[in-house]
């Protein structure tokens, strides 16, 4: 007689490690969204791998009860690619921030979207480098004053959703950490959707961007349902105000997954090719 598979509740996906995030940090809500999404999908904790880089948001793997990898700065997508193509049975979720993901990780971002391996990329965007004490990130407003760039960088911020679409991402969404159940629903759908799913979560930094407390008034639901037409999506994303929430694009690209496993090939033939 087969034992029924255990049903995991939200609390089962959270570890006992106490986060070092500042109280008030949006990432606490994101952690709730992760664990709620995993429970909704009826996954088992050991089937999920959470891969991250370096930064406040990248601390999240140890706070879950899943398999995790706290890698080096900016390379989480590469780690995840290697893992997923060799272990397609796992559910791979990649966690990053606007610094780790869009700055040093920028190049890998382009290619991960292009490659379209089945995984979900979650970027907790707080428009600042939090972990290193408040330098501008690629999504920081050009006039935002910091010690490293007094008076602001004067450089136009990155538009990650547009870049994702142009590079081939198969699912694009934006969420707000302060709406954790909505975010959990979007994450669950992103994980279910085949191919490379990109979810940007606006997650305010209470310590270095206290001005972001006004985000909860500025975010709004997208006025139209998600499109499957990349042309339409491009137009919408290029004119997006940065606070438009929801699933914004659903693509139908076939996920990239090389075949592997037993092929029936006789390995001895490899040697015979060298014989004279």
């Amino acid at each position: 007689m087969q034992c029924p598979a255990p049903v995991y509740k939200q609390a089962d996906f959270k570890s006992d490690v106490k986060p070092i995030w500042c109280p008030g940090c949006g990432d606490y809500h994101v952690l709730l969204s992760f664990t709620r999404a995993f429970a909704q999908l009826k996954l088992a904790p050991e089937e999920i791998a959470v891969i991250s880089g370096i930064g406040c948001s990248s601390r999240i793997p140890a706070y879950t009860n899943c398999y995790g990898f706290h890698g080096v700065h900016g390379r989480s997508l590469a780690l995840a690619a290697g893992l997923k193509v060799t272990r397609p049975d796992l559910t791979v979720v990649v966690a990053s921030g606007d610094g780790d993901g869009y700055s040093i990780g920028g190049n890998h971002f382009l290619h991960a979207c292009r490659r379209n391996i089945d995984m979900t990329y979650v970027v907790m965007d707080n428009h600042i480098y939090g972990m290193t004490k408040g330098q501008p990130s690629p999504t920081t407003e050009p006039e935002f004053d910091t010690a490293l760039s007094p008076g602001g960088t004067g450089v136009r911020p990155f538009h990650p959703l547009v870049v994702a679409l142009a590079s081939g991402a198969n699912f694009i969404a934006r969420c707000f950490s302060g709406n954790p159940n909505e975010t959990a629903n979007v994450l669950a759908e992103a994980i279910r959707h085949p191919g490379f799913s990109f979810v940007e979560i606006l997650s305010p930094c209470v310590t270095f961007r206290p001005d972001e407390s006004k985000w909860k008034e500025q975010v709004h639901a997208a006025p139209v349902a998600a499109t499957t037409d990349p042309g339409k999506a491009a137009r919408r994303l290029m004119t997006d105000d940065g606070f438009n929430l929801g699933i914004l694009y659903r693509g139908d690209r076939k996920p990239f997954q090389p075949a592997s496993g037993a092929s029936g090939y006789d390995l001895a033939q490899l040697e015979r090719d060298f014989e004279q």
Binding site: K9, A11, K18, P19, I20, C22, P23, G24, G26, Y28, H29, L32, R36, I54, G55, M131, T132, K133, G134, S177, G178, N179, P180, N181, E182, A184, N185, P204, V206, T207, F208, S213, K216, A221, L245, G246
Partner: protein, 173 residues
């Protein structure tokens, strides 16, 4: 965006939703207590653990009201609230230097949201038993609201510089 709420068709649904609201609040206050512990605010650890304990007692009361019916199991089968459980404190309002006054403000908002939730059920429910129980829960929540107001009177509103920390933030990585 779907604006789902747990469907309340009968008394058991209502009791299960009410139970879940209290248990979610327990979890949330314990989470905040953990944060305060990690960030060296022992006064708030106690406040949040006390709030968690109080919500736990409320949850037990609902269970008693439900008699033999397993509210906990039934709650698991119900849909999520659109955003959060009404009594779950807003985590984005936490702060490592927060005072008991702040914590009680969070609690007050939670109790008021729960009150509004049950009030809307009184107004929209067709089943008279559901209506009656919802009205009973409205009274309960009103008591909780008044209790929090009473507690708030014990704590002065913090001065404008409550969040002042002479030391700067530290980069840890």
């Amino acid at each position: 965006m779907s604006k789902s709420e747990p469907k309340i068709s009968n008394l058991n649904d209502l009791l299960a939703a009410a139970y879940r609201i209290e248990i979610d609040a327990v979890g949330r206050y314990n989470l905040l207590a953990d944060q305060m512990e990690t960030h060296n605010n022992p006064e708030l650890v106690k406040v949040f653990r006390d709030l968690a304990r109080a919500e736990g007692i409320h949850g037990e009361e609902i269970r008693r009201l439900a008699g033999d019916f397993d509210v906990a199991a039934h709650a698991e089968t119900m849909a999520q609230f659109a955003q959060e459980s009404p009594e779950e404190a807003d985590l984005s309002l936490a702060h490592y230097l927060m005072t008991p006054w702040h914590a009680l403000q969070l609690s007050l908002k939670g109790e008021e949201r729960a009150l509004a939730y049950f009030t809307s059920i009184v107004e929209t429910a067709k089943d008279p038993k559901v209506k009656a129980m919802a009205a009973e829960l409205v009274e309960e929540e009103a008591e909780h609201v008044n209790l929090v107001h009473k507690l708030l009177r014990r704590y002065p509103k913090p001065k404008d510089d409550w969040a002042d920390d002479p030391d700067p933030p530290h980069p840890i990585e």
